[in-house]
Symmetry: C2
C-alpha cells in the first residue's frame, strides 16, 4: 500500500510499504478513507533525525473495516468507523473512569510501534474498544466534521471538560490553531458566557468568532494579560484553555486566570518544569489540569451532535489533498497557509 | 499588652507592646483567649533575619470582642469569635466564589502589616466579614477543636475539598503533621474509602488511624511510591493531599496519583518551579490544585460539626502552654516533641 513516511525534518514522502495484517485477535484492519495532518505532526517535521527507513505518520482516521481478528465482537467488515488517536480496550479500570489515554492495554498511533493513519490501510489494536461505528448512510459531507472527533475537536472539548467549563463560565482560549478554535466551539457548547480567543491570525480568529468567541485578543505577553484583565473587570477568567504547549502560553495562562480558576492544558507541553509556586498557581488557588484528550470517552455523545448539525467542527479544514500530495499538506500547515489539511488516501 | 515577638531565627520572646486600636471603622479588637503555634511559624523560626524591633507572630485565634468600629453590624462586644488566618470582607466577587483568601480587601495575619495572634489582644480588619461567632454557653472543652477551624483542620479540609474527595475516593495524605492529620479527618468526613497516611512518626500516625487512616506508609521516595501502588492494585490513588510543601513531597505525589487523579496541595510550596510535563502530570491527565485554605468559606458549616461531636480535630493539640512560655512552645514543635501547642494568652 501507499503510506506517508517521514525521513527527517521537512522530508515527508509517499512510499510503498507492506499492507498491515492482523497481529492480535483483537485487531481490525481498516481502509483509511479520511485522514489529516495534526499540528503535533509538525514537531517531527521540524526536528526528526535522519530516519532512512521512514517513520509512518498520522493518527486521525475514518475508515472502512476490511478484516477483523477472531476476538472482535462489536464490529463487522464493511462498517465505517472513527478511530481515535489513542487505542484503548474501553474495559480496564482507567477506561471505566474515562481516562482512555491511560488504558492498561492501550497506546498511541505514533507510527513507531503501531502503524499510522496517513496511509491506505491501518491496523487498529483493541479494535472493539477503540473504533466507533458511523451510522450507515451518513452523508459524505459530514465526514470532515466526524473526522475531527478522532482528535482535534474532542481535544478542544477535553480541555473544556477538564477545565470545568459550564453555564456562565468566563473562558479564555490561548492559541488560534485548530485545537484552540475547537476549544472555543466546545466552550460554547458547554454554556460558557464569555469566550476570549487569544490569537493573531485574522482568518483563524474569524472562524473562532463563528464558533462562539465573544472577544479576540491579538496581543501577547504582559500586553495580552492586561487586555484580558481589562475585559473581565480586572479579575481574570474562570477557565483558561491552553492549546499551544509552549512556555509563553503557560505564563500567559496564569496571568489571566482568576483566583480559584483553572488552567486546562491540551497543547502537549514542550517543557518539563514550570512555575507552580505561591506567585503563580498556589497563592491564587489556581487549578492546573489537562492532558491527552480522552477522545474515546466522548465519542458516542459527539457523533449525534455532528449528525444533527449541532456542531460543525469540520470547518477547521480549509484544504483537502490526496495522499500523494502529503508533502504539500505538511508545507501548507507548517507555513500557516493552511489551518488544517484533510487527506484522502 | 504582652505579645510574642520573634527577633531572629530561634529567638521568640514575650514583650510588652502597645495595645492594638481601632484603625478602620470595619475593625474589631478582640481579647485573645486561645491561640497556637502553626507549622508555618517554624519557617521564620529557622531563617528570620535579625529583627531588632521583633516581628509579631501567630495567625490562629479565638477571642472575645472588646471593641468594634463604627461600621460593624454583625458583631457585638462580648461575643466569642473564631478568627481565620486570613481576613476578608466576605462580600467581594472572589469571596462570593468562595476564594476568601484572595479577597479584594483582605490579607493575612502575618505580623507585618497587621498584628498577630500570639498576643493578649488582636485587631481584626474587615471584622464583620472575617470573625464568626461561637454560640454563647459553648463548653470550654470544645475550644481547642474550634480553634482548629481558624486554620489547621480547615486547611486539611480545603485540601480534600479542592481535591474532589467524595464517597468511595481513594486518598493518600503526604505528611503526618497537624495539617496532614487534619486532612485524614477531613477525607474521612467527605466519604473517602481508602485513606493512606504517609508518615513516619508513630505517635502521629496513631492519631491518623484514629482520624480514619486505613493504612500507614512510613517509607519515602521510590520505596514509598511502590508501597502505595502496592496498596492500590498498582493503580495509584484518586487524590493525593500534599501537606508538606517541600519538593520530595511533590515528587512523591505525582508518583502515587492514578491517571485522571488529583494532587491537592496545602503545604505552602517552598519551591517555585516543579515538574508539570508529559512524564509527571500531563501524560496521566493529573490535576494539580490547592492553595491557601479558604477557611472563612467553610467556617459556618464546620462549627456545628464540632459542637455536636461529629469531628474532634482539637486532638492535634498535644500540649498547652501560657503565652509567657511561647519560647518553649516553639522549641517543642521545632524538635517534634510536640505535634501542635495550644497557647493561652
Amino acid at each position: 500500500m501507499r503510506a506517508a513516511l517521514m525521513y527527517g525534518a521537512g522530508d515527508v514522502r509517499v512510499a510503498n510499504v507492506p499492507d498491515p495484517t492482523i497481529q492480535e485477535p483483537t485487531d481490525a484492519i481498516i481502509r483509511v478513507t479520511y485522514a489529516c495532518v495534526c499540528g503535533s505532526d509538525l514537531h517531527p517535521y521540524h526536528d526528526l533525525e535522519d530516519t532512512p527507513d521512514g517513520r509512518p505518520m498520522g493518527h486521525e482516521a475514518i475508515g472502512v473495516i476490511e478484516e477483523i481478528g477472531s476476538e472482535i465482537n462489536r464490529l463487522a467488515v464493511g462498517q465505517t468507523v472513527i478511530v481515535p488517536f489513542a487505542f484503548s480496550d474501553n474495559t480496564c479500570s482507567f477506561c471505566r473512569e474515562g481516562i482512555t489515554t491511560s488504558c492498561k492495554h492501550g497506546g498511541f498511533f505514533d507510527g513507531l510501534e503501531t502503524g499510522a493513519t496517513q496511509a491506505e490501510r491501518l491496523r487498529v489494536p483493541q479494535a472493539d474498544g477503540t473504533a466507533v461505528v458511523i451510522p450507515e448512510g451518513t452523508d459524505e459531507s459530514l465526514m470532515p466534521s466526524l473526522l475531527t472527533l478522532s482528535d482535534v475537536y474532542l481535544t478542544g472539548y477535553h480541555a473544556a471538560v477538564r477545565g470545568g467549563v459550564g453555564a456562565g463560565t468566563s473562558v479564555a482560549v490561548v492559541g488560534d490553531g485548530a485545537v484552540g478554535l475547537s476549544a472555543v466551539l466546545a466552550a460554547k457548547q458547554l454554556g460558557a458566557e464569555t469566550i476570549i480567543l487569544m490569537g493573531r491570525h485574522e482568518s483563524r480568529t474569524d472562524l473562532g468568532r463563528a464558533f462562539g468567541a465573544t472577544d479576540v485578543v491579538a496581543e501577547r505577553g504582559e500586553e495580552g494579560i492586561a487586555r484580558v484583565l481589562g475585559l473581565t473587570d480586572g479579575e481574570g477568567v474562570h477557565v483558561v484553555l491552553e492549546a499551544v504547549g509552549h512556555m509563553p502560553a503557560y505564563e500567559q495562562s496564569y496571568g489571566i486566570v482568576r483566583p480559584g480558576g483553572t488552567i486546562s492544558r491540551v497543547g502537549v507541553p514542550q517543557y518539563d518544569n514550570a512555575a507552580v509556586g505561591f506567585a503563580s498557581l498556589f497563592g491564587k488557588n489556581v487549578t492546573l489540569t489537562g492532558g491527552p484528550a480522552t477522545v474515546r470517552a466522548y465519542l458516542e455523545a459527539a457523533i449525534p451532535q455532528v449528525l444533527d448539525g449541532t456542531i460543525d467542527p469540520g470547518r477547521v479544514f480549509d484544504r483537502a489533498l490526496p495522499l500523494d500530495e502529503i508533502a504539500e499538506a505538511y508545507r501548507l500547515m507548517d507555513s500557516r497557509e493552511a489551518l488544517k489539511v484533510l487527506i484522502r488516501p
